[in-house]
């Protein structure tokens, strides 16, 4: 960089060609710098946007003054009072949400990955339409899905005697359904960028199709699978409108519990419990990072690297 500054300093020299080149170089550098900073400004804004409400929630959760106090930020006479007032059922609900989220992620991967492979690789007629089918659970408002599933469960129950509403299975099926597109999306995106010749090379070298899939294809799409699974989990974990209809006594998910708690009542302890969820997620992230490394999960491994 210091060399660049001497260049600019040398602009007054009589050799105009050199000066022009130096000028161009300077402009180029300015533009580089602007683009460099623009990128970081966008990143900073994104984090500010995402995290400002969380900072306020965490901060306000430290307010003192018992369960009748107002939400204030910055907190007034800080204490952990509200943390001791979190109702036990919120922890139960949190656990249920966690389990349902995990089931939704696994189920969505089991259905979504073959779907993505088929969508990108096959030359079935009407592929575009099939893609729309897999994406459709996204577009149906969840409240419609909720009532529709509830009606379906009653109908199936009337026919078979097994009523799935208000059971864990019923709740999980609904969540898997809405989570499928979140796996299909990212896996499809990676597959579309995937170099076929790698597989062809493996096959021509005598590897069996299954071995080729396991050793070549799978490592490449794995980041998409993990990202999709993670997002399936997130969507399930945060869902309100679908779960309202599929939950039952003993099976209330965390956001639904909060939603109901806020509907006709207000206990600032929800800020404390929200803060605990943030800490809990952070802990899981750190754990994942320590044990396997988040980057190894989401980064293309093995053969995909350094192509």
């Amino acid at each position: 960089m210091s060399a660049g500054e001497t260049d600019i300093g040398g602009m007054d020299t009589p050799q105009s060609g050199l000066a022009a080149r130096a000028g161009r170089a300077a402009r180029w550098r300015t533009r580089q710098a602007v683009q460099f900073w623009l990128k970081w400004i966008m990143v900073a804004l994104a984090y500010l946007f995402l995290h400002a409400p969380l900072v306020v929630v965490v901060g306000a959760s430290l307010n003192g003054g018992g369960q009748f106090a107002a939400i204030q930020f910055p907190p007034v006479n800080p204490s952990l009072e509200w943390y001791f007032e979190i109702p036990a059922r919120q922890f139960e609900a949190l656990w249920l949400s966690f389990v349902v989220g995990a089931v939704a992620a696994v189920g969505a991967i089991a259905i979504g990955v073959p779907a993505a492979l088929g969508l990108v690789r096959s030359n079935l007629p009407g592929k575009t339409f099939i893609a729309v089918v897999f994406r459709s659970p996204l577009q149906i408002p969840a409240v419609v899905s909720g009532i529709a599933f509830l009606q379906m469960y009653y109908m199936i129950g009337d026919a078979t005697g097994f009523y799935a509403q208000g059971t864990f299975i019923g709740l999980a099926i609904g969540h898997v359904f809405i989570a499928i597109p979140y796996v299909v999306g990212p896996v499809t995106a990676i597959l579309q960028r995937f170099d076929h010749r790698l597989e062809e090379a493996a096959l021509s070298l005598g590897a069996s199709p299954w071995r080729t899939f396991r050793r070549v294809t799978l490592p490449v799409i794995m980041p998409g699978v993990y990202a999709g699974g993670l997002y399936a989990f997130m969507v399930s974990f945060g869902d309100v409108p679908l779960s309202i209809f599929l939950t039952a006594p003993g099976y209330v998910t965390y956001p639904v519990e909060l939603f109901f708690a806020l509907e006709n009542d207000f206990n600032p302890a929800i800020l404390a419990s929200g803060t605990l969820v943030i800490l809990f997620c952070l802990a899981i992230m750190i754990l994942v990072q320590r044990v396997v490394g988040l980057d190894t999960l989401l980064r293309v491994g093995g053969t995909g690297k350094g192509r």
């Binding site: 107002a70 309202i244 806020l262």
Partner: protein, 356 residues
């Protein structure tokens, strides 16, 4: 509390204890019964659970709570084509015509609900019993009003001044008190249940900050100074005051006949219930002095039990915020939804308030 009353309380506690021990031994009336009760989530359920569940357990049964708004519970009921996933449910007054038109509720055997003695006649019929009220008020920040040189409001129209533009909130029509307050505003604006346009015009002139759907938001916004006045039920105003905001309720003047508005909740037993007796027992317990007192003190809803209402005046904040005079309560507007087309109201509301 004098020594004598303490002793009395002790004796009566002892008697209750004895009685419950005796009954537990004598007959397990609800042995193995699992009663599913649909009610509001949050502290409402907690209070009911603490007040009623131990007594039911002593009789051998267990209560499961299905939490949710009466609206979502009705939606579940319809999806189930009447095969209710609960035995007894909370019903809003606004839903009564819906329930009357459908056939979801079982007739109540009033003999089995002795606590009906504490209710006014209009508070129960063959199928439902009123278990709570909310007094819908204008809650305003007295200091801010003084600062702005505004007199205390007496009715909704008083909020339609430039100094309060963007500083007031009223409930969204889909929130619990939305329909009752809308009814109040419509009457106050000179309209009636068939012609709500004047009410919608009045709402437009208020230039509200938003239409709230969660009361906790109004408490927060009173605290942060965003809003100076809110149409909320008195319980929320009590909350805001307890949270340190200098607020006071006004029971809005509606017309020559009515001052103040209230909505009420009712409890009914589902026709599909297999635990009819237990459900009746639950309603009776809901109306008991202990349960109604606990609800009033801890959640801010207004009891229907006359004996409990008489005692609320002991609490200075409640005395200040609520209308406790039975004569005046009976003059509060209670919207009769029989001839109201709610879907028509909601439709007109949507079209009027939308800023799309």
């Amino acid at each position: 509390m004098g020594v004598r009353s303490k002793g009395l309380a002790f004796i009566s506690l002892f008697a209750i204890g004895l009685a419950s021990v005796a009954s537990a031994h004598a007959e397990q009336r609800f042995d193995g019964v699992v009663l599913r009760v649909a009610t509001f989530g949050g502290s409402n359920k907690d209070v009911l659970d603490a007040a009623v569940s131990p007594k039911f357990a002593a009789l051998g049964g267990k209560i499961e709570w299905v939490t949710g708004s009466p609206q979502s519970n009705l939606a579940k009921l319809i999806a189930a084509r009447g095969k209710a996933p609960f035995d007894t449910m909370e019903i809003l007054d606004a839903q009564l015509p819906d329930f009357a038109a459908s056939d979801f509720l079982a007739p109540l055997d009033l003999e089995k609900i002795p606590n009906k003695q504490y209710l006014e006649d209009w508070q129960y019929d063959g199928k439902t019993m009123a278990t709570w009220l909310t007094q819908e008020t204008i809650c305003y920040n007295t200091e801010k009003f003084k600062e702005l040189g505004l007199p205390a409001p007496t009715t909704y129209k008083d909020l339609a001044v430039p100094a309060l533009a963007g500083r007031t909130v009223i409930p969204d029509i889909t929130s619990g008190g939305g329909l009752a307050n809308f009814g109040g505003i419509v009457y106050a604006a000179g309209g009636d249940l068939r012609n709500v346009t004047p009410g919608l015009e009045l709402i437009k002139s208020l230039k509200v900050l938003k239409f709230w759907s969660q009361g906790g938001e109004t408490v927060t916004q009173f605290g942060s100074g965003d809003i100076y006045a809110a149409v909320v039920h008195a319980g929320w105003c009590v909350r805001a005051k307890n949270a340190g905001s200098p607020v006071q309720t006004v029971h809005p003047y509606i017309n020559a006949e009515h001052t103040g508005v209230h909505k009420y909740g009712r409890q009914g037993v589902m026709k599909s219930s297999e635990n009819y007796e237990a459900a009746l027992w639950y309603i009776n317990e809901y109306l008991s002095i202990e349960t109604q007192t606990a609800l009033a003190v801890k959640t801010g809803v207004f009891p229907t039990n006359k004996a409990v209402i008489a005692r609320l005046g002991d609490d200075p904040t409640l005395k200040q915020m609520l209308e406790l005079d039975p004569a005046k309560i009976s003059k509060q507007l209670r919207v009769d939804y029989t001839d109201v087309s709610i879907s028509d109201w909601v439709d007109q509301w949507n079209r009027s308030v939308v800023t799309n």
